[in-house]
């Protein structure tokens, strides 16, 4: 019983991170139908920038919480600029190219960003300095930390904020209109290029927050960490129905829980033949099953007819 509860808590934490990253994939896909495979790398850069800021401020006598806050803020700003630049430099010139072209460009950008990160931050694992005193709470035989609480609540806050932005504000309305029919939206005076740039910027900001969460949860970072994280989040987005915001959130949480439960029980299930380090296979089993039986995802809907 305590394994179940423990893995549910861990899965929820992981799932919150997946959900934030998945939102970046799904927003861009919903508007221009592009799977931005470089998004995982944006998240990685977010982690790395936060790391640099935190390390350089750690000895300055500022309060640890403030240091974390500044690290988060700088990381968000850098990623927003990076997301905007990616769209402007790599994808906008290909707006009218065949679908495969920007997809391959995205993979190319992913490789470029990984290598830039390797040049800047080196090829070794880097360790986050512990900034918060970890407190451990007990609940029915399972334990969780204040970091986990912070991750889940910050993620929830970000998602609520995004839902509000998309459904209640002028810019959000323009985004939804563009997703349904870009030509008609532009005839109503919506500047499509701005809306697309906005999707990249907002997605990257969420990604940066997720990157900081990953950094403070695992306390290590690596220039290749964005690849696997990106693939998992992409799986989460597909699981929920790519292009659908609520789907990305639900898909992220569900995938986190599936993975954690899988990792918790895989030893028992296979007679200890496979250990918990095989947890990555679950995400891809999920991806294959979804693509085989319900490619539109859990919340998937047909997007509106294009003009």
């Amino acid at each position: 019983m305590d394994t179940l509860l423990q893995q549910l808590i861990n899965g929820l934490t992981l799932g919150a991170v997946y959900a934030l990253v998945a939102l970046g994939y799904t927003m861009v896909y919903g508007i221009i139908g592009l799977i931005n495979f470089a998004h995982g790398e944006v998240v990685m850069i977010g982690t790395m920038v936060a790391f640099t800021v935190i390390v350089s401020l750690a000895g300055s006598g500022m309060s640890p919480l403030l240091v974390l806050g500044v690290g988060l803020l700088v990381s968000v700003v850098v990623c927003m600029i990076l997301g905007w630049a990616l769209e402007r430099v790599a994808y906008r010139p290909l707006r009218h190219a065949p679908r495969l072209t920007p997809l391959i460009t995205a993979i190319g950008m992913s490789i470029v960003l990984q290598n830039v990160a390797m040049i800047i931050w080196g090829r070794n694992y880097i360790t986050f300095p512990p900034m918060i005193d970890k407190k451990i709470y007990e609940l029915g035989g399972a334990s969780f930390t204040n970091v986990q609480v912070a991750i889940v609540s910050l993620a929830a806050l970000m998602m609520l904020g995004l839902i509000y932005l998309v459904h209640r504000t002028r810019i959000g309305m323009a985004m939804r209109a563009t997703a349904q029919n870009p030509h008609v939206a532009s005839l109503m005076g919506v500047d499509i290029n701005r809306v697309i740039a906005m999707a990249f910027i907002i997605g990257s900001a969420l990604g940066a927050v997720a990157g900081c969460m990953v950094g403070s949860y695992y306390e290590i970072a690596h220039y290749q960490m964005g690849f696997m994280l990106g693939l998992k989040a992409f799986t989460a987005a597909v699981l929920g129905g790519i292009g659908n915001l609520a789907g990305a959130m639900a898909g992220g949480l569900l995938l986190g829980v599936i993975e954690a439960l899988g990792a918790g029980y895989i030893g028992d299930l296979t007679g200890d033949f496979l250990g918990s380090h095989y947890q990555d296979i679950f995400a891809f089993i999920v991806l294959i099953i979804v693509l085989m039986f319900r490619p539109s995802g859990l919340f998937g809907e047909r997007t509106g007819d294009r003009a």
Partner: protein
């Protein structure tokens, strides 16, 4: 006709798709405050003309002068900005948004709050959003579908969807409202209601460009009418003259009515 009476001039607008000349040097002039009809058989180039005008297509020859300035129709949102709004022959609403949200998107152009405002929720942003909502409600009232404000656009009846498209177009505060076959698929009662609505819009100071198949509606509503046939303008005059023009009768009415 003095300069300021003219709202739109099309100068030798040409557009072809491969070898097909969809528009062949079409020139016409629309005056402020009139209801101008554009008719012609299927495939005559009426909708193509609309698409060139609103920047969805790029015309290969000719140009438009709108409100005294040459139209740089390289992006649809710029056409909307100078004051051209349109509806579609095949309705193109944002189906998964409510009726009122559809109209609110139309207000996008005339409002300004950005992401910063959306995050900080400052008083200017909130006031603007309230104003957008109020104006959208007024417009739904104006076209007569305010009871359906919070229904999804895709759930509205066909006639109501056409009205919603008009409300959404009006939300951009156009000087010229271009209606692409607004009466298509409507019954007699609905068409009559539409006629009253279009007359009202014109009375309220918006110039109307109307593509329509319903000849009775066009002849009753429009001050002047142009006829397209195979991408060429074959006639332009008041309805009573157009109706009797032999070329029009030949091309459009099939030569049997005269």
């Amino acid at each position: 006709m003095s300069e300021h009476q003219i709202l739109l001039e099309a100068h030798a607008v040409a557009k072809h798709f491969g070898g097909v000349k969809a528009l062949h040097d079409v020139s016409l002039t629309i005056r402020r405050g009139e209801i101008y009809g554009l008719i012609g058989p299927n495939g005559a180039g009426k909708t193509t003309f609309f698409n060139c005008l609103t920047g969805l297509y790029r015309n290969e020859g000719g140009h438009f002068v709108f409100d005294g300035a040459r139209l740089a129709a390289d992006a649809p949102h710029k056409a909307a900005e100078v004051g051209i709004a349109r509806t579609f022959q095949n309705i193109r609403l944002f189906g998964n948004m409510t009726a009122i949200e559809n109209v609110m998107v139309g207000r996008h152009l005339r409002t300004h709050a950005g992401v910063l405002g959306a995050i900080t929720r400052n008083s200017a942003t909130r006031a603007e959003e309230a104003a957008i909502g109020r104006r959208a409600e007024e417009l739904l009232h104006y076209v007569g579908i305010h009871e359906r404000a919070h229904d999804y656009a895709k759930h509205l009846s066909y006639g109501d969807q056409r009205r919603l498209e008009i409300a959404r177009a009006l939300a951009t505060e156009p000087k010229l409202l271009a209606l692409d076959e607004p009466a298509a698929g409507m019954n007699g009662t609905e068409t009559e209601a539409l006629r009253l609505l279009v007359e009202g819009i014109c009375r309220d100071g918006v110039t109307v460009l109307l593509i329509e198949h319903d000849v009775k509606l066009v002849m009753g509503l429009c001050g002047r009418v142009a006829v397209l046939d195979y991408g060429e303008k074959i006639c332009e005059d008041v309805p009573s003259v157009v109706q009797r023009d032999p070329r029009v009768v030949e091309a459009y009415l099939g030569g049997s009515v005269a």
